[in-house]
Amino acid sequence: MTDALLPVAAVLHEIVPMVTDNHLFSFLPEQPMALAPGQFVEITLTGIGSFPVSSCAQVRNGLITSCIRRAGRVTEALYHLEEGDVVGLRGPFGMGFQLELFRDQDALLIAGGLGMAPLRALLHALLDDPHRTGRIIVLYGSRQPEMLLFRDELVKLSLEQQIELRFSVDFAEELPSLDGRVVCKIGLVNELLAGLTFAPRKTVAAVCGPPALYHCILEELALIGIPPAKIFATLERRMRCSVGECCHCVVAGRYICKDGPVFSLEQLRNMTEAI
């Protein structure tokens, strides 16, 4: 039996500032760690505390990369670390996205705010899959144009016609110029569905964003005709142990850290108060 509560040491390899208070952090753990899209790790800042976070990229050269928002006490402390500092990592935890379900299907990725981070890991995995056919549609909503994460990368993929991209922002004084080929609307991300032509029966959807996003969009996707078993959302909860013991993340009797955090709408419909 290994001690799942004992972290491995990891070097903070690189900090890449992106938008305000949403930097990319990559970590090199002493022992290699596999981390699939949708799964998460716990990052420990010794003496401060720990928090769960998913990766926003495939693991490359042993590096685990996450987009981490400065949102609380521990992430605040992370923003004061420097490259070369040592943190602790536990994981990988949870059930991620089932990549094989996306194989011969169109992929519809819908993100709100920081929800783009785990979906970017999924996007990279889909793009890297040589056996995969089908479209990749990315709908991404943010508060303001300046807060769109991975904007340049997504626009580039769109221009290369690897993905079909639409942005939405809640408000903007001036809409960014996106080379005329990328749609950016003012409004909510679910409004981007209007006018989108796709075949719902052969589409797998993945949604990640704040709780308000799930309230409206998951059932809307089902109404459009995507089967509930092929609509996935990744849930955020307070996870402390991450191994299905401490009880903080439980919803409808299920440990989100262990059974999830990715669930299908079919599952979520039977989980009262999950969304």
């Binding site: 799942a4 972290p7 505390g49 909860r237 903080h248 439980v250």
Partner: protein
């Protein structure tokens, strides 16, 4: 569940004495009433076994999941596990606490610190005197632990308990059911998971929430409550230890995430959550009622909230 038959042995006085010496040869704890009238699990002097079980204020769980424990330390860039726990014995616990131990064994099946303590422990149950609060049910779930000990008879509950009895000269093993106290399982409320789930907005929760102080005492004294949090402590030499400490689903931070969103706001919500956990379980134990009927939560609640009564009302019956 069919009641299990367990090997039971006759104990002559000599083998009882040998057994008592063997059990208490190391660090031994037993429920004992202190000067202030509280029954606590306290160290026991050698060779001096109690005659019967007592229900300690804080149950057996604290021996395996201490209210505060150290999980690891960090020094000079390295994380390291802490030392092995010392072996110990606990004697004089009631059978309901052994069901609770079985339940915690399932929850913490993969938890190394918990399992290390379990592997180095000897747990001995004894007959108890049921109180009006007791609602134990032998059929609820199996028991864990090592021995059930009466004056002239002993039951082996584990291979370690069995070999201990044999080595002490106990003889005449035959398979027998454990002598549970004559309790009243029929007084346990009948509540279905569906009734509880569909009751989330029922007025009964708001009523209970009006008097509930959210003190969390019911969870502290519950033998099957096991929520925990993790907390770091930094020593003056710069070393850091991560502590595991009991948490409580009545506390305001329990379901709050970074950014401030609370997934279980309000006491009504938390009362419902606790009831769901207690009667219907989480994760792999979903469907397993873990209320062993010890009555501790009823005795400790400062405002007389009785989960059995809430369950009975939700289930459409009235407890006498």
């Amino acid at each position: 569940m069919v009641e299990a038959l367990l090997p039971s042995y006759h104990l002559r006085q000599s083998s009882h004495d040998t057994l008592a010496d063997a059990i208490t040869k190391g660090s031994t704890f037993a429920p004992q009433v202190d000067a202030e009238g509280f029954c606590r699990l306290q160290p026991l002097s050698a060779g001096d076994l109690p005659g019967q079980a007592l229900s300690s204020f804080v149950p057996l769980k604290k021996m395996f999941l201490p209210p505060r424990e150290k999980l690891w330390s960090f020094q000079s860039g390295q994380f390291s596990e802490l030392e092995q726990p010392e072996p110990f014995a606990v004697v004089g616990v009631p059978l309901c606490d052994l069901q609770a131990l079985w339940y915690l064994d399932q929850v913490f099946a993969e938890d190394l610190p918990y399992q290390k303590r379990r592997a180095r422990s000897l747990v001995v149950a004894m007959p108890c005197e049921p109180t009006p609060d007791c609602r134990c049910d032998p059929q609820l779930m199996p028991v864990a632990g090592d021995l059930f000990l009466e004056q002239k008879c002993a039951w082996a509950l584990s291979p370690a308990g069995d070999s201990l009895l044999r080595s002490c000269g106990a003889g005449g093993a035959e398979d027998q059911p454990l002598p549970w106290p004559t309790a009243s399982p029929e007084r346990r409320p009948q509540l279905t998971e569906e009734q509880l789930r569909s009751s989330a907005d029922a007025a009964i929760w708001a009523e209970a929430a009006q008097s509930c102080l959210a003190c969390g005492a019911c969870s502290v004294v519950c033998p099957t409550c096991y929520c925990f949090d993790l907390l770091d402590e930094t020593a003056t030499d710069g070393s850091v230890t991560r502590g595991r400490l009991w948490d409580n689903c009545f506390f305001a931070e329990h379901a709050k995430v970074a950014g401030g969103h609370d997934f279980r706001p309000g006491r009504a919500n938390r009362l419902h959550f606790r009831m769901e956990h207690k009667f219907f379980g989480f994760g792999a134990l979903q469907g397993q009622n873990s209320c062993v009927g010890c009555g501790r939560c009823r005795r400790v609640c400062p405002v007389d909230i009785d989960f059995d009564q809430i369950a009975a009302k939700l289930g459409g019956e009235e407890l006498s």
